[in-house]
């Protein structure tokens, strides 16, 4: 019986008091080196509440979790779903409107944001990162990358929002007709397909591959935190797909006001100042001062499908990928 009590205790851990805000997010957000700790103390300093993070492995499993829990979810806010998944979540009616007036905010023009459910808190462009000590002349296009003799790490589009980003990128570049061939060309250069971003990035830093799928902003981390220019992102002339990370208020929360307050906070200059140097993505506000390293990052052209198109085709695209790379 003690075991059962213990297990029940574990299951119930995270039950909430009145003035607590529970935020579901992905695990690297809440890690010691991620934005979680700073965001928490900054928000708690102004809200007279307790902010609790509950983490899932990745943006994809985050959405699955909220979907599974349905009405019973503990989440007041879900943070870390990306723009590729927002239409799927909208169709499931998991979130409620945030009531933010976009016209007052100096948002980055690239985003062109006016959504009533989702609040973008940072964004970035997917890119292949390379080690300058291994690669002298990096690929300047996807075409060049796929035809060169290099080794590549990327993530499973079913489990990782980064891998999913590559899927949309490939679809945008090659379309339904050419994408299978492109996937197969990539498969020949692939070391392994990992489930999450951190596995592949760790492997890349251990020297297991020449390129790893990540973000144009990843080199900023190495420049700022490690003071090295060793790792750089390859800029492709065809353009890059962007990832916009969003937060939203759960449709089933009883803390809607506090949740809305938190979303406002995410858009504040204070939070926007924290995110780039902890989550290593670009701020959504234009009036944020960034470390000098950010000025040296690639500024690619944005391409890609709209969230609605992605929602329509996502399952089919996953099948295409699965078929192509399992050969």
């Amino acid at each position: 019986m003690r075991t059962l009590t213990l297990a029940t205790g574990l299951a119930l851990a995270g039950t909430l008091g009145a003035n607590e805000l529970t935020v579901y997010t992905y695990s690297s957000f809440t890690s010691d080196w991620g934005p979680g700790p700073e965001i928490k103390s900054a928000f708690e300093a102004q809200c007279d509440c307790t902010l609790n993070f509950v983490s899932s492995d990745d943006g994809v499993s985050l959405l699955n979790r909220v979907r599974l829990e349905g009405v019973n979810t503990q989440a007041d806010v879900v943070l870390g779903v990306d723009d590729a998944l927002i239409e799927e979540a909208r169709a499931l009616e998991l979130f409620q409107p945030h009531g933010i007036d976009w016209s007052d905010l100096p948002l980055a023009a690239d985003l062109a944001w006016s959504d009533d459910l989702y609040v973008p808190f940072d964004y970035g462009y997917f890119a292949f990162v390379y080690d300058t000590e291994n690669i002298d002349s990096p690929a300047t296009s996807m075409e060049e990358l796929l035809s060169s003799d290099v080794s590549i790490l990327y993530q499973d589009p079913r489990t990782s929002t980064v891998g999913q980003g590559l899927m949309h990128w490939m679809q945008a570049l090659y379309g339904d007709n050419g994408v299978t061939e492109a996937w197969q060309a990539l498969a020949e250069r692939t070391v392994t397909v990992t489930q999450g971003w951190s596995e592949s990035y760790g492997m890349f830093q251990e020297g297991e591959a020449d390129y790893v799928l990540s973000y144009t902003t990843s080199p900023a981390y190495h420049m700022v935190a490690e003071d090295t220019d060793r790792y750089q992102a390859a800029t492709f002339e065809e353009g890059h797909v962007a990832q916009i990370e969003v937060a939203a208020i759960s449709a089933f929360t009883d803390q809607a006001e506090l949740a809305a307050e938190f979303l406002d906070f995410l858009l504040s200059r204070e939070a926007q100042q924290i995110l780039p140097v902890t989550n290593w993505m670009l701020p959504v506000r234009t009036d944020v001062e960034l470390p000098a390293a950010f000025d040296r990052l690639a500024t690619p052209e944005r391409i890609g499908h709209s969230p609605t198109e992605i929602h329509e085709h996502r399952q089919a695209w996953i099948r295409t990928w699965r078929n192509a790379v399992s050969q």
């Binding site: 299951a11 829990e69 392994t192 099948r319």
Partner: protein, 527 residues
Amino acid sequence: MFAGRPLPTANRQWGSLIWGLAALACMLLATVLAFLALFGWSEGRPDLSILHDAYFHRILRFTLWQALLSTLFAVLLALPVARAVALDARLPGKALFLRWALLCFVMPSLILITGLVSVFGRSGWLTPWLGAGWNLYGLNGILIAHVFLNMPFALRVLVFQWQSIPDTAWKVSAQLGLSGWQRFRLVEWPAIRGVLPGVAGFIFLLCFNSFAIVLALGGGPRATTIEVAIYQALKFAFNPAEALTLAWTQLLVAGGLFLLFSQFGRLRWLAPPQGQPWLPALHPFTRALGRLAYVLAILFLAVPIATLIPVALFRGGQGLPWSTLMPVTLRSLGFAFAAATLATLLALGGLELWRRWTAPGARRWVEFAALHHLVIPGMVLSVGLYLFFLPWVNWIRWGWVAVIGLNALVALPFVYHQLKPRVFDFDANYRRQVADLGLRGWPFWHRLYLPWLLPALRRAWALAFVIALGDFAVFGIFGHDSWRTLPWLIYALAGSYRLQAAALASLLLLAFALIALWVLEDHRHHA
């Protein structure tokens, strides 16, 4: 003619009947509900379109192919080693070797995976000597792991077969002056030929149902089995319809294979090796070859596990996730403890009915209820129950109940199998004595029956504990990363290349498995 008055049935207690019926209901209900889900009774119907998908054909083909290769290697490699162990009288350390082989067979997969990654992985210490093209991930890794887990099983069965060749057969063949090859063909081959199909079939089935090994060492969509595809369909893509179709495929193929292989009779693999009978003289060349095979087998079965010790202790205890490890370990132990206890209670309940219902038909039903979980893949049962209750149950919160319950059901056939002969002996010897003494209820259990069952109970419980402790598949469906168990923590650590931490966690898991198996083995030796 006036029939004799029926013998009044023993007025045994309602308690044991209710217990037995409850156990029977648990055993059958889980299967029935899972099947209802498979028929599309609740969340989603099977999506048959995937049957025309090239991806589906490819994974089915790969599942069968890797199982076939694994089986071939496991059996072929076991043959020379088993022959040496059985026939070479002066081979040292045989008893210990056979015990280790038994442990290898029930070794939690994640321990092995960490060990293999440490030896053969990208930064493994043996990798630099394996040539430039070496890659553990994919078919290579799957085969090595499957051979590690299953070769010891084949080995034990074959050793037993070779040892069961009677002295007289050896003596006669010596008198007739048969050559080594003739003797093998006329004396040894007939003895082992009979068990080979059964052994191979069983190993094939285990490899066909393999989950953890393939998920961890498959290295991506190129090397995926149906079990892994079921998991991915549900947990990655949240596509219940596809998961159901795959589960059906898994169930039909596995069930068909089992029916096929069960034609080949029973295997006596847990039987203890016998003493040293009269053994034939071996040709010096084959003896040397056998010894070489023996040494290689010891290295193969010991090195991946022994490697964990230096890897885990390489940098001392610093930088290790002790704060994560502690709660995860406690949780794993708690789950395994509860599952093993539940499995034991279910088996005892089933056996109460078995004792009470002496009609052969009724007994067959009890046996079926207790043993059928051996054939139904754990993944199929898990997916079925997961989807059945999905509309009403928040699995992230209540998944632990299913993890305990399903692991108990997975372990149940082994527990039942261990306990039944003991129960049978008790009734055969003492049934009348117990009735005459009028012993019932608590005094009966406490003073007589439990002490009688104790050695078997300890063994069965330990086996169930180790099986549940190593569980990967059930947790894969019901678990969540916010309450990981030790195998899943190892998986996450190894996945993010924190090998030292993974090795340490693996050693912990191994230590608990060893403690359970060795402490609970009966050490008393009275008549």
